[in-house]
């Protein structure tokens, strides 16, 4: 596996695997990863990189797998969820917007 997220994405794709790339495009408050942070996901659910401290990766990977299947890019919003913080949200109280696109 490459440390470089885009290189790993390109390698997976070159091997014929479906790949999606998620990128943090906006943050508000104390979000854990800065704008520009990326996560690459392959069709089998393997991933490299991060878009949060682990809080929303599960949900982003689910959307990424859907983007690989449909080719439809999407913009996801995640905010603090208080009592559901154990589900999908940021325990730190920040908000992030993540763009998910398929690598064609």
């Amino acid at each position: 596996m490459s440390d470089d997220i885009l290189e790993q994405a390109a390698n997976w794709r070159a091997n014929g695997t479906g790949v999606a790339i998620a990128t943090v495009v906006s943050t508000w408050g104390s979000s854990p990863r800065p704008v520009g942070s990326q996560l690459a996901v392959d069709a089998g659910g393997k991933f490299v990189g991060s878009v949060s401290g682990g809080c929303i990766e599960g949900a982003v990977i689910k959307e990424a797998l859907d983007a690989i299947a449909t080719g439809r890019p999407r913009l996801l919003d995640f905010g603090v969820t208080n009592e559901q913080a154990w589900e999908v949200g940021l325990a730190c109280g920040g908000k992030v917007q993540v763009f998910v696109e398929r690598l064609d």
Binding site: F99, E101, R102, D104
Partner: protein, 230 residues
């Protein structure tokens, strides 16, 4: 993202050429924007192009609201650099920690035995004299420079070149006494007080560091503090 855009983006990054990837967050259409040219199917107007180039120069990424919807500008600049003068004991943990923090690290030591005696595989090592090495490496506003030798013959030419550059961080290892003597030599060479004050000496945050690894932590921490404006 098309394979073509990704290949060109990776080629620019490998060539250490600054590039911004501009994405329409509704359609997913993209364009690569370089200083002076652009490639890719996304249509952007001249103002947006200028805005993307401006963000790239400031090394910022972010979302712009436009008539055509939200546009994300993702800046890819070459990694910041750390130039270490002196392939001494401390240089090894310093190079490793700086690499972990994302710096492209170059070691400069004209004493071949030093340059060869440590484990510096994976780093660029030059045995040129520091003034020649600095002239070739051209430190810029994304470069940090740290001198470690304590030897005026090696440290001073490096510091003179560092002060003549826009390097965002200049640090020199040495005690207060060594540093005071160093500042006097630089003053005699015509460096004014503002220039001399750019040198962080004794180098690193005051955390009571003793071992080479601890000193490296204090230096990387101080470089981080200066870079992030904290």
């Amino acid at each position: 993202m098309t394979p073509d855009i990704l290949a060109k983006l990776q080629a620019a990054r490998a060539a250490k050429r600054p590039v911004a990837l501009v994405t329409n967050l509704r359609s997913g259409a993209q364009k690569l924007v370089f200083d002076g040219e652009s490639e890719g199917p996304l249509c952007i107007d001249i103002d947006m192009m200028a805005g993307a180039i401006e963000m790239l120069k400031r090394d910022e990424s972010g979302t712009l609201q436009t008539g055509a919807g939200a546009i994300f500008v993702h800046s890819f600049n070459p990694p910041p650099r750390l130039l270490i003068v002196g392939a001494v004991h401390i240089a090894e943990p310093l190079a490793r920690m700086a690499s972990l923090a994302g710096y492209g690290t170059t070691l400069i030591d004209p004493r071949r035995a030093f340059a060869a005696s440590q484990k510096f595989d994976g780093y660029t090592v030059t045995t040129d004299w520091p003034d020649e090495a600095m002239a070739a490496l051209k430190p810029d506003a994304r470069t940090a420079i740290v001198t470690l030798t304590h030897d005026p013959k090696i440290d001073d030419p490096a510091l003179e070149a560092a002060l003549a550059s826009n390097a965002f961080y200049v640090g020199a290892l040495g005690s207060r006494k060594t540093h005071a003597a160093r500042l006097e030599r630089l003053a005699a060479k015509g460096f004014d007080e503002a220039a001399r004050k750019r040198i962080r000496g004794p180098v690193g945050l005051a955390i009571g560091a003793l071992s080479p690894a601890e000193i490296a932590i204090s230096i990387v921490a101080e470089i981080t503090q200066v870079r992030r404006g904290a």
